[in-house]
Amino acid sequence: MTTAQRPVPALSDLSVTEFLTLSRMGFLPHGLVVGASVYEADTSASGAQIDLWGALFGNAPLVRPVQTEEVVALSEAVRAARMLAIERMRMQAAAVNAEGVVGVRLDVEHHLWRGNHQVVKFVAVGTAIGFDHAHGPEEIRGAPTLRLANGAPFTSDLSGQDFVALLQAGYRPVTVASGTCVYQLNLQELGRYQGYNCEIAEYTRAFFDARETAMARLQYDLFSWWPVGHPDAPTGIVGMTVSETAHRPQLMGPARNAVVAGSMAPVVEFTAVGTAITPLAPGDPRRAKTTVKPLVVVPLDR
């Protein structure tokens, strides 16, 4: 990885349109940056729990049945792994002297490794870009840097066009933000609902709460790093999505029938992802002088 001021042959996964849009604003790609982290989803934290201490000295039952609740240990692990992948990508971008990363994609891959290890791989890929003061357009040459207050590059999952549109509207991206919540479900609950046309209240509460928790954690993390009043404190999150993936305890062979038939608790991971944005520094020449007027066009290409 070169650390030159402007590495000439820089890799990027930008499309031609994105590249041209960015270069018109004086941004050049500095290289493709990748951050990855691999962790083992230890599903033993979920499912029925044996509480020997509680049974001997407390009033607790020996085997605590599966409950519909959050699996905090897994939530923490997934959060740490995701943060690590993004942080490593950010470090790589800093190494190529970039101002930020655009077009970040967060990929999650589930693998089943030998010995029944359920392994999850997080990869963050994006294109590091930097502002070229010498070659940028005349009127925005003196624009201040878009780096964060501590000198770290920003990250965003915006495309090149979106990034430029955002700058012209007077905002800059701060970071790719994510929040996670892992929930397990008690399948015994369904027995109560045999033969009814009705809502399954406990599951609704679980799914609703899990999604809300994921989004609330995203906000909480952002404000714990950049509290209100900090120059990088986010004013909004754009392109937020909440998606879900399932970590089912995997068994090998015909025993898997038990999982399918539902005697083991499914574990569902909810993830909220978005890009945090904040207003540009006052007097930044990149802010468009006049507000862009939208045009209604009829495309002739079909």
């Binding site: 499309s15 089943l112 066009q161 479900l185 369904l190 809502e199 399954i200 993936t245 062979g253 029938n257």
Partner: protein, 382 residues
């Protein structure tokens, strides 16, 4: 006709009442957003800027969900009679969507929004264990045919659900031995890319998610019922609508679950000396026609209740939800069990804004961008 009743969104009976309130974390999230003046939205940058241009501010991502058990009840009909609506199921499916949407509305109200745009109604059928197993079963079959196993070995017939794991596992261990591999999980037993959780048979998740917006001016954009409007319009469509002098007042929907008995699905067979002719299955046509009209009629009633002058962006969808008995021979099974179809119609009701007669001028352009590229990178350029 007697069965033309509107589906009331009234509660369906159940052992546990529907969960009444938003979860605690929802209140916390909304309170934090209001306190720290943070907005969240799932709009693209173009949509976000257009919503601002239209005079609205994004407030936050709002959502509601409902996990519902829909039990299939096949009506007992006399042989030869026409199909009918399954009113209990119509009511259940309507109620499930209504619960999800009213929870989303509740969140938007708590945020102080005038409306919700970009609403997506997601129906998640993946809770059905048989549907999940069916995908894996098909994956194994494809693999087995590749290895040269004949179809009479891989086609397990009606009892596939209970037997396929054993057969597949036997073949896979044999394959592993032949290749000299240690025992390892088969490719079809790996976790799928998309979420899958076996909630139970006939359990469906309905989710509504959208972005709450608020008008910057003093004018309130709430609808006649004093609630924030909901619409499935994208940011671009919303901008165009507002700029041409209309405003959305709410989502309107109608649905109808219709049962088509098997005798209506059978084509007429020829006699001993005559051949079967190509002809219309008029009973089937009539059934579907009736169901669609019923659904649209209900949508119209809802629009009238909101005093809308029109409904835009109406889509008609036909679902065959997870209540099929088995995934074996899905197409032909209908000939013996009949078919159960849900017609679902949804649209955005609009009213003209008083004193607004701005006319949008459209311009013809040639687009030099590569359309495929635009799609690949998710830039919504069209």
């Amino acid at each position: 006709m007697s069965h033309h009743r509107p589906p009331p969104p009234g509660p369906a009976p159940g052992p546990v009442p529907p969960s009444p309130a938003l979860p605690r974390h929802a209140h916390e999230r909304i309170a934090e957003m209001k306190a720290k003046k943070l907005f969240t939205c799932d709009l693209s940058i173009n949509e976000f800027l257009l919503v601002k241009e239209a005079g609205f501010d994004c407030l936050g991502l709002v959502m509601g969900t409902s996990i519902y058990q829909v039990v299939p009840t096949v009506p007992k009909l006399e042989k030869g009679s026409p199909g009918c609506e399954v009113y209990e199921m119509t009511k259940a499916l309507y109620h499930a969507r209504d619960l999800a949407m009213s929870r989303m509305e509740q969140e938007a109200e708590e945020l102080g929004g005038d409306g919700i745009i970009g609403v997506r109604l997601v129906v998640n059928l993946d809770g059905d264990p048989q549907r999940l197993a069916w995908k894996q079963y098909r994956q194994w079959q494809a693999w087995a045919h590749e290895q040269g196993y004949p179809r009479r070995v891989t086609n397990l017939g009606a009892s596939w659900f209970s037997t396929w794991q054993r057969v597949a596992w036997g073949q896979w261990t044999l394959w592993c031995q032949r290749m000299g591999w240690p025992a390892q999980p088969a490719p079809w037993s790996l976790p799928p890319r998309e979420a899958s959780y076996a909630l139970g048979q006939n359990v469906v998740e309905f989710m509504a998610i959208g972005t709450a917006v608020k008008h910057r001016g003093p004018e309130s954009f709430k609808n006649k019922k004093g609630k924030p409007f909901q619409s499935d319009l994208t940011g671009q469509e919303f901008w165009m609508l507002v700029r041409s002098g209309y405003r959305p007042v709410g989502f309107v929907m109608g649905n109808c679950v219709y049962y088509v008995p098997p005798w209506l699905l059978k084509p007429t067979t020829g006699g001993f000396f005559t051949r079967a002719k190509s002809c219309e299955l008029s009973g089937y046509t009539h059934g579907l026609y009736d169901a669609r009209e019923l659904a649209i009629e209900r949508l119209q009633w809802e629009a009238e209740a909101l005093e809308a002058t029109g409904v835009v962006d109406v889509t008609v969808t036909e679902h065959s939800h997870a209540w099929q008995r088995s995934y074996v021979n899905l197409g032909n099974a209908a000939l013996t069990t009949g078919e159960m179809i849900e017609l679902f119609v949804i649209g955005t009701a609009v009213v003209p804004m008083p004193g607004a007669d701005r006319k949008l001028q459209a311009r013809l352009v040639h687009i030099a961008n590569d359309r495929r590229e635009a799609q690949r990178f998710g830039g919504r350029e069209e």
